[in-house]
């Protein structure tokens, strides 16, 4: 196997409990976004657009959807001769050990996989954020700084800071402290969950960490590995990322990130020919908009047929909107069939739901600040 400068490991294990019903039988990275994508399309497309052709996808919980979704990676152009994309669930080892215990453990348990490629640097990604990023620029920065580890960071407000892993740095962006969800944040630089490590160095820390009993280590990058590196005086740098980046791990944030796309010039441009977001194509015919239909400020995918009115909403493929129905500020997932004279306002309707004629969802509320989730548990 040829030596690679950098390969990526994508942490796609999370069940995303905060996304409630949407992740019942989906890993969080398989959740839909933006009319046609799944969240994991973003880091995968970023990899392929950055020229990274080897990605290990670490998955744990119900990997079937993710596994058959990614397949051999041909949609992301990763069905390469050397390299490719590999779904790596935990597997039985001679010592009989079991599940991934934490983010770092997931990597440690796949040392053999990584060693095959003998990379100089390891890119660690999390599979649950929506953003476009050139990881090559991050690598250039990492090499320029001569860093042992570089963490990509984004500016957040002080209020938001307490829900992120915060990075405290000197003026030259050298990191002196990693502050997990601080009550009193000292900076506004939040970790994006995107790391580059010198692989030989990280390898040593992982091997050391893996044997620690669970009480002593959470086997986690943010809680264990990075703090230990800082304590040992290694050279860690923050890389300030500019651009759109969202954690879409809750229903409101998922909704909001979808709404962001409806602006005339959204921050996240999904149609840049130089930075395509690849996804599995549902192969639906062109969308049909009927004579009496009205569609404003929407994103509508192929395979939709619209007879009613749709306003400030995102329709995934195969959605039907019947005559007289009015959909507003909503996200309608794939293959949802909406009958006639339905009214839906500020809701996310999960894949495949059938909404009977005349149903009213969230449209007559006085306070419409809550985003409703309509899924298999909903009473129709």
């Amino acid at each position: 196997m040829k030596k690679k400068e950098m390969i990526a490991m994508l942490l796609a294990g999370g069940q995303g409990k905060r996304l409630k019903g949407l992740t019942k039988s989906l890993a969080k990275p398989a959740v839909y976004f933006g009319g046609t994508y799944r969240i994991i399309d973003f880091p995968l497309s970023n990899c392929t657009n950055s020229g990274i052709d080897t990605v290990g996808v670490l998955t744990q919980y119900e990997p079937l959807v993710l596994h058959s979704y990614i397949g051999v990676g041909s949609d992301w152009d990763m069905d390469r001769k050397s390299g490719g994309v590999f779904v790596l669930p935990p597997h039985e080892r001679e010592d009989g050990s079991s599940w991934y215990r934490g983010t770092a453990d997931a990597i440690s348990r796949n040392l053999k996989f990584i060693d095959q490629y003998d990379p100089e640097h390891l890119l660690v990604l999390s599979g649950d954020h929506v953003y476009k990023m050139d990881y090559n620029k991050l690598l250039d920065y990492h090499k320029e700084k001569g860093a042992d580890c570089t963490i990509s960071v984004i500016n957040v407000t002080l209020e938001e800071a307490s829900s992120f892993g915060m990075i405290n740095t000197h003026e030259d962006l050298k990191i002196y402290e990693f502050d997990e969800k601080p009550k009193h944040p000292k900076s506004t630089l939040a970790s994006m969950g995107v790391y580059i490590f010198k692989w030989d160095l990280l390898r040593k820390y992982l091997v050391e960490d893996i044997d620690k009993p669970d009480g002593e280590s959470d086997h986690d990058f943010g809680k264990d590995i990075v703090p230990k590196m800082l304590a040992d005086g290694l050279s860690l740098y923050a890389y300030p990322f500019e651009g759109y980046w969202r954690d879409v791990g809750t229903i409101p944030s998922l909704w909001e990130a979808n709404m962001d796309l409806l602006k005339d010039e959204p921050e996240l441009d999904l149609n840049d020919p130089n930075w395509r977001i690849y996804t599995r194509n549902p192969n639906e015919p062109a969308q049909y908009v009927a004579p009496q239909a009205k569609v404003h400020q929407c994103m509508v995918n192929e395979g939709c047929t619209v007879y009613g009115e749709v306003d400030r909403s995102v329709l995934f493929y195969g959605v039907e909107v019947g005559e007289g129905s009015v959909i507003s500020e909503s996200v309608i997932m794939p293959e949802v069939k909406i009958g006639k004279n339905v009214r839906i306002h500020r809701a996310i309707v999960d894949q495949g739901k059938v909404i009977p004629d005349g149903t009213v969802i969230g449209a007559d509320r006085e306070d419409d600040s809550e985003i409703l989730l309509i899924n298999g548990d909903s009473p129709f």
Partner: protein
Amino acid sequence: MKLMGVINLDHELDQLNELTYFRAGAAVPFAGRYRLIDFALSNMMSAGVQDIALFVRRKYRSLLDHLGEGGPWDLNRKRGGLFILPPDWNDPTDISAGDLQHMHNNRDFFARSSGEYVVHSGSQHLSKVDFCELGEYHKAKGADVTVVYKRVDEFSPEHEPCFRVDIDEEGFVSGIHHEKGNHNLYIELFIMEKNLFLQQMEYCIAHGDSYFFRDAILKNPNGLKIAAYEYKGYHAVINSIESYYKNSLELLEPEKYKQLFSPDMPVHTKIKYEAPTKYLEGAKVSNSLVANGCRIAGEVEGSVLFRGVKVEKGAKVINSIIMQKCVIEAGAIVENVILDKDVQLTENRTLVGDPRRPFVIAKRSTL
């Protein structure tokens, strides 16, 4: 019942004016995201046909690009799959001509395929014929050849060049000709046993013939038993700009759209990665088919928009067909127009064609 397929473009004329200057008719874009050939290929895919020969002669470069190894139709196989077959030049021993030349040059293809029956199709007749059902009918009839026809109640101009079929009481063909009054249109689709096909092919070549259908089936020198299979579903003939325009816009009738795109026989095409279409503030779209990657801020009515079309603020697109990546700039108006790929209509320009003779603008023009 194992089928193999032939899509024979050899004798198809490039009659779509500007649309076929640079490409074969089979490569003409249709219905917002397809090319005409996708329909014949997808029908074969639905019937589980694994070996398909595509006979091409001219202007097939865009077909090569579109089809590749046939991945989107699941035809990129280790054994068999899709074979794009231009003529095999320079064979000094070859005395065949016309489409028989293709057949002759590719006897190997027929011999190697495990298919027992040959389904032979063109690209100009769009249909959703179920080839498995056709094969069963052919077998049940005990026929040598079964040709497929569509009974049309009302004639359109594009039906004129079509062959008609006379059918006897037992459902066999008693004549194939061009008599205009006959309502049974031959839709350029037949099936026959492979061995018989090869045998007839050799016969035709030995007799100096050049077109298999005409010389072996229509003239029927060997007295083949020819059955007629009536097809009742979606049908369109695309053999002129007018028929292209008419049949494109007829897809705006939900009935026709559903027939052509019934989910049990999906139509596959080359995959692109466009984002869903954006309807901006001020967009007014009605009675239209729209592919992905468009950005609409103006008005669109009774039209078909292909991938990546931009309709700017105040622009109007009426009863028109706008192909990939065209830009209709602010205030421009098009009506009864077909714009080929990459046409840019600059601000406030107006283009109005006649609904019966739509205006066609060649690709990559700026007006």
